[in-house]
């Protein structure tokens, strides 16, 4: 009896969720000002009415957005507005923070990822993350990259693994610089090289989505340009979300931009629109460096 009821409820829940996700984003009641793309892209991630709490404190308020596939979406906004918090929802990194709670709907390819029963390890293989500070494991360059494919069971032989390591390093534009010292410790690399190593590590498990939280904040202009070039190439095959404090970087690398303020999504639209004629005063003030 209880079981049947529970099943019904689950089913109803699913229907409700389905309905909610099928609502067109542009008719959804919301304070966010949105501008669609002229040619809308397929949606990789759908978020609807997402709220995130740290204990009593609410860090994200009712945020809904579509993240287009094989494109770069930039999250911008003043420090503390919730960009990292929202980004972490997409691979359930908030689970690791004590007292944090996420509600609302988040779907990857039409399947909910909020569900507690979801295999988080598998999710994180599909949704990789690159952090603000390069964080290589204190192991060799080779091992840093080999680790993911190995634990996800993506390789059968040493030769397979060698190939993945080389290919990932090449994609990250790092191979030529490190090919003679693959077995040296990764912490001996420069900051920019470490960051590219972390990107190589993220792509080694063939994710579909890559989340980048201020990936260039510790890099010089040349290393930054290399990472940006890499992002541009990765966009052919991956869906990328990047958090950045550099308006110029957001304008350079992304196709869509989302502006956050105090946990709210204020405005989102095509990047060229956001940086030439934003609709919302708050966005204008932020990107032009005015008092808001």
């Amino acid at each position: 009896m209880m079981n049947a009821l529970r099943e019904d409820l689950t089913q109803m829940n699913m229907v409700v969720r389905q309905l909610a996700v099928d609502t067109d984003l542009y008719t959804l009641p919301s304070t966010t000002i949105r501008t669609p793309d002229l040619e809308p892209q397929p949606v990789k991630i759908k978020a609807r009415n997402v709220n995130v709490f740290y204990g009593e404190k609410q860090a994200i308020h009712d945020v809904s957005i579509d993240i287009p596939e094989k494109a770069v979406t930039a999250f911008i906004g003043p420090s503390g507005c919730g960009k990292s918090t929202f980004l972490r929802c997409f691979n359930r990194m908030n689970d690791t923070i004590e007292g944090s709670r996420v509600d609302g709907l988040i779907e990857l390819d039409g399947r909910s990822i909020i569900d507690r029963s979801l295999d988080v390890v598998e999710l994180r293989a599909r949704v990789g993350m690159v952090f603000q500070k390069p964080n290589p494991f204190p192991k060799s360059i080779y091992e840093n990259i080999a680790y993911g494919p190995r634990i996800h069971g993506l390789v059968r032989s040493k030769a397979d693994l060698d190939e993945i390591v080389e290919r990932s390093l090449r994609k990250a534009g790092l191979f030529d610089e490190v090919k003679d010292r693959l077995h040296d410790t990764a912490t001996g690399l420069s900051g920019g090289q470490q960051q590219r190593l972390c990107i190589a590590r993220a792509i080694a498990v063939s994710p579909e989505v890559i989340l980048m939280d201020e990936p260039c904040s510790a890099l010089d202009p040349i290393a930054t340009a290399r990472v940006e070039e890499l992002i541009d190439e990765l966009r052919e095959n991956y869906t990328i979300i990047i958090v950045t404090h550099s308006m110029q970087q957001a304008a350079r690398v992304s196709q869509r931009t989302a502006m956050f303020h105090l946990g709210n999504l204020v405005e989102e639209g095509p990047t060229e629109k956001i940086f030439t004629s934003p609709e919302v005063k708050r966005t204008q003030d932020y990107i032009t460096g005015r008092f808001g």
Partner: protein, 237 residues
């Protein structure tokens, strides 16, 4: 518009506005004096207009330099970006207005003492007054951030074109009546044409100004009548 957190940024933007205004005032006054010189056969005044053009050019170079430096230093975004790029373009149009005034001034000697009929003189004066009003108003509306007024102003360009067509016809009649007047009348015709082209530059400025202020393109205006269709309508009359 709220202030920038970096206050020197506001100051640099203000300087661009200021230079644009000075350029506009100067080229406006060049048109006024060139017309006066033309109608009064005042060669000395004409010479002054010719030398003033250098000042407009110098101001434009200064404005360009400042704009480029500002882009390099501030990497402006959104309305600031529109302002800087739009100002460069508006300054280029104003510089052309100065050139056209100079061109009128240069013809003063060639037109010389050839008597101009009072009607023709009045037409040229009125056309010049209207053009001048447009030149002044476009930057006034821009600086006062009044995009709606720019729409109306742009539509006024039609009146300038009507003036031009009527002056054109009048001059044709004179030339046919008295072939000795052909040289002088041709110069006058070019002067009227120059005034008409000033109107076109004002239209460009209005469009740029509107884009800077609103982020939108100025709604499409009337289709521009070209020279040939004007000739046709002249032939018919």
């Amino acid at each position: 518009m709220a202030q920038h957190i970096v206050s020197s940024f506001d100051e640099e933007l203000r300087q661009l506005d200021q230079l644009l205004r000075e350029m506009d005032e100067l080229s406006g006054s060049m048109i006024r004096r060139a017309t006066q010189a033309l109608l009064e056969a005042d060669v000395e005044l004409a010479q002054k207009v010719v030398t003033d053009d250098r000042e407009v050019d110098a101001k434009q170079r200064d404005l360009d330099d400042r704009a480029v430096t500002l882009i390099a230093r501030r990497q402006p975004m959104a309305q600031d970006l529109r302002l800087v790029v739009g100002t460069i373009r508006m300054a280029a149009d104003i510089e052309r207005i100065g050139d056209l005034a100079k061109n009128i001034a240069k013809r003063v000697g060639a037109v010389g003492q050839t008597p101009i009929s009072p009607e023709l003189s009045a037409s040229i004066q009125s056309m010049s007054d209207l053009v001048l009003k447009q030149v002044d108003a476009v930057i006034e509306h821009y600086v006062a951030r009044r995009p709606e007024d720019l729409v109306e102003l742009r539509d006024n360009d039609e009146k300038i074109d009507i003036f031009y067509t009527s002056i054109f016809r009048e001059l044709l009649t004179y030339m046919m009546e008295d072939p000795r007047k052909i040289t002088a009348c041709t110069h006058l015709l070019f002067c009227a044409k120059n005034l008409e082209r000033v109107g076109d530059h004002v239209t460009n400025i209005a469009e740029n100004a509107y884009y800077i202020l609103t982020g939108q393109q100025l709604p499409v205006g009337r289709p521009k009548q070209d020279e040939l269709s004007r000739m046709e309508s002249t032939k018919g009359s």
